[in-house]
């Protein structure tokens, strides 16, 4: 199970980073979201992968670690705020520059070397 979990996190990371390496703003935002899923899962898993162990007193005999959950909860919300900021930035950049390339340059897809 751990191997599968790790593989999924790795796949999400790889796909997220691949998207972030694209030259257009929208895939970058999608990639960032994907990467933040991966990071959240990674952080969350640091409390261990336990079933039927919600960290509510009286609900389970051996509750799992609540701290990573608290951290990830705020991370999800902040992640949303940051995504929103990126989205608006991308829209603004397109309206100012006339294109949606991350470097603000239209034209050749190869970056200048």
């Amino acid at each position: 199970m751990e191997a599968l979990f790790a593989a999924v996190v790795g796949t999400l990371t790889a796909c997220g980073l691949f998207l972030m390496l694209r030259g257009r703003t929208f895939p970058v935002i999608v990639g960032l979201t994907l990467l933040s899923y991966a990071v959240n899962l990674f952080l969350f898993s640091m409390g261990g992968l336990n079933t039927h162990a919600a960290p509510v007193i009286g609900e389970s005999l051996s509750p799992s670690d609540p701290l990573p959950q608290a951290l990830v909860l705020t991370a999800i919300v902040i992640g949303f705020a940051m995504t929103a900021f990126m989205v608006i930035l991308a829209i603004r950049a397109r309206s100012e520059l006339g294109n949606d390339h991350v470097d603000g340059k239209q034209g050749d897809e190869e970056p200048p070397r």
């Binding site: 979990f5 796949t11 929208f26 991966a38 509510v56 909860l73 995504t83």
Partner: protein
Amino acid sequence: MSLLWILLAPVAGSLLPLLAAQRGRLLLTLTALVPPLLALLLLGLTLPDLLAGDMPHVQLSWMPALGLDLALRLDGLGLLFALLILGLGSLIIVYAGYYLHRDEADARFLAYLLLFMGAMLGIVLADNLLLLWLFWELTGLASFLLIGFWSKLSDARRGARMSLVVTSTGGLALLAGILLIGQEVGSLALGDVLSAGDTLRASPHYPLIVALVLLGAFAKSAQFPLHFWLPHAMAAPTPVSAFLHSATMVKAGVFLLARLTPALGDTSLWALSLSLIGLATLLYGAWFALFERDLKGILAFSTISHLGLITLLLGLGSPLAIAAALLHVLNHALFKAALFMSAGIIDHETGTRDLGHLGGLARAMPLTATLTLMAAAAMAGLPPFNGFLSKELLLAATLDSRLFGGLGAAVTLLVGLAALLSVGYSLRLAYGVFFGRHRSDAPLPHDPPRGMLAPGLLLAGLCLLVGLLPMTLAAPLVTLASQAVQGNATPALDLALWHGPSLPLAISLIAVLGGLLAAMRQPQLARLVALFPRRDARWLFEAAVIRLTKASLWLTLKLENGSLQRYLALLLLTAVAMAGLGLSQVERLTGERGVQPLDGMLVLGAALMVFGAIGSALSHRWRLVSLLMLSVVGLSVALTFVRFSAPDLALTQLSVEVVSMILLMLALFFLPQRPPPWVSTRRILRDLLVAGLCGLVVASLNYALLTRESQSIADFFLRESVPGGGGTNVVNVILVDFRGFDTFGEITVLTLAGLATYKLLNRMKLFMPAGNVEGIHWSRHRHPMILAVIAQILLPLALLVSAYIFLRGHNQPGGGFIAGLITAVALLLQYLARGYDWTRQRLPLSYPLVAVSGLAIATATGLASWLFGYPFLTSTFGHFQLPLIGEIELASALLFDLGVYLAVVGATLMILVNLGRVTTVHRPSIEEEN
């Protein structure tokens, strides 16, 4: 404690001149004189202790972890230098009052000068090597400001920069040396270091320590071949040269050598490095001083030469030589400061410092001539002036020394040659300015005001007095200083002008005659010298600086070519390399805890997520498809949280997912509809490789961590949640209570992000298509009936759910974050179904205000605990009996959670409603026609 005040007086006093800036020159000078005179007075008060054999000492703990204490000591060596710094400093302040033009920023100048004085005092009083280094660097900075005071002149800027670069590079070497010393000795306190000489000399790092310390000292004291900055520092105003380059800054290097002699000296490495470099510097400076045309240039090279002399004496290392070195520190300061002042007067009165344009001024400026002749005679080492005493001691010490073995005679001869040259350039300076014929068309100048002459005359008088009465005026001070350096080995000084016929006297006599000849034949010698090409080290230095700048520019351009994609790829590769390096240290990937079994649901969930992620990556050019694939992953993540016992996370993830999707859909509307062109396959392969590597490393890391036992602080939270926080939902208690301060920061960020998007959307030029990429217009039904009806029915239910989730949050999964998101989604649905205007009329809320008031409530809750004398955000709870409802538990954390709730609602709606409004208000015309 008075030691501290000696140091603080000039440092704090450096502000005084700035206060008196507008009150006229006289008052300004008097104000600036207060700190050094006060410090001198305090120094005088500590003198009885010092003479009684005590060592005044003060120690304040500063950064004990670094071994840095604010520790000061006053011993004989410190006293000698402190007297020079404060005494000469006061004279320079008087002199500067006449030197600077009326319209110059003299207050600033005096402030720099006092700052420099304080830094210099710090060096000589420091009882901790790190503290000493700190002041060492401070003198560098202050001297940079002083040398570059006339910042309009390019020469001043260059000179200041060069001196800063050279001396502070040396300073870095010195720091390394000091840290090595600290490592060997185990302490940086001066007392410990000085008594650990044997340990240091026996250490394998000894040669390295000596090399580093000498590099620092030689750069500061302008020893060959690091001397080249000093002549260019002459671009400074003359009072600066008189202070920094005669008595203080350049002497810091020799001070350090003398200071560390007990710890590092007494080995052949030390002795030979010092004496050979010193000898080379002595000759080099004297030779080039003979061919300078600029008055201050002559003085600069002469200073280099005399600093070499002191270094040579310290290198010879015999008790007499060390005492002679300290005597010469005093003598050189006296005559060189006087000469610099005289050069400044001549420059001031005639407008030139070029020997080619000067001459015959003795009649016009009798007092200046007297002063200059006296000081120049001291510099030449003629009796009955003080320079003669130290020159005789140098010759005697060289003759006595066994250091050079068979080469001893040759070294003596070279020292004699240097003495000859010094007679030559001194004569040339004095004769060239004051005798011969007047070589300029300008009218004859006259002596400057008495106040400008007085300091120089006083110093020249001292040169004579010390020469005449050395045992009274110099010997006690020098003996004290020498005791600080070599303890009981201090020789009984017998200073006198006449010791009867001796070999040194004979050499001196020859040197004087030879010097006369050299001065007379100087033009012929100069022609001879001109045959050889001479490269100023300045050009080498500047070429090196330019090459270095070009190299770093090249490197920067290689790394920063303007492509964000490339930066990201470089960053990722670096991260992979670092993490990979860490992983390679791990013995086995699978840890001791082992793995849990799989089941079908897990495999299905994993397959869904992998499908979504890969699908989203593959379809990145078709934005809508990519987005839908992303939402598959997002929902699966929420399910993962459910499966692995995190109900709060699942709720949050689910509601954030909804909000995010609406946001991204809206964003699609503003971004280009057409898929971007295909990029080269090579790029795709490169990115796949980079991303794949990262994924592999992250997966390995996660697997390795998951299969290992870890220490957790979970027990504390689980134990304290109910008794300490009054809630059974530990995650929520952590958020609003234990780690409330973090949450507070996070809602602040959330609100800020919302406000920032609010501003970014202001006055934006919009690209809004009237239809999709195939040219089909958007739907004519702006607000579908069914959606509108359902949304309206759902609203009260959703608000009820959100209130329920909010209230139960402390004990059951839920809380402010989740409730806020649910409320936001419910309200958003109204905007979606009915449009901005319709909703706005019925819900006239200002969302920035909502978010900010949420923040305000959270802050107020935190501050309220201050009222009761508890730290910020301390929470409390109690059980109350309410009519009809029964017993209810209320926690102050609930109020804090309300703040969180409002901030989340406000920020989320601020972002989405604004973006949505932009689409509806300015809908393209095709919509408006309906």
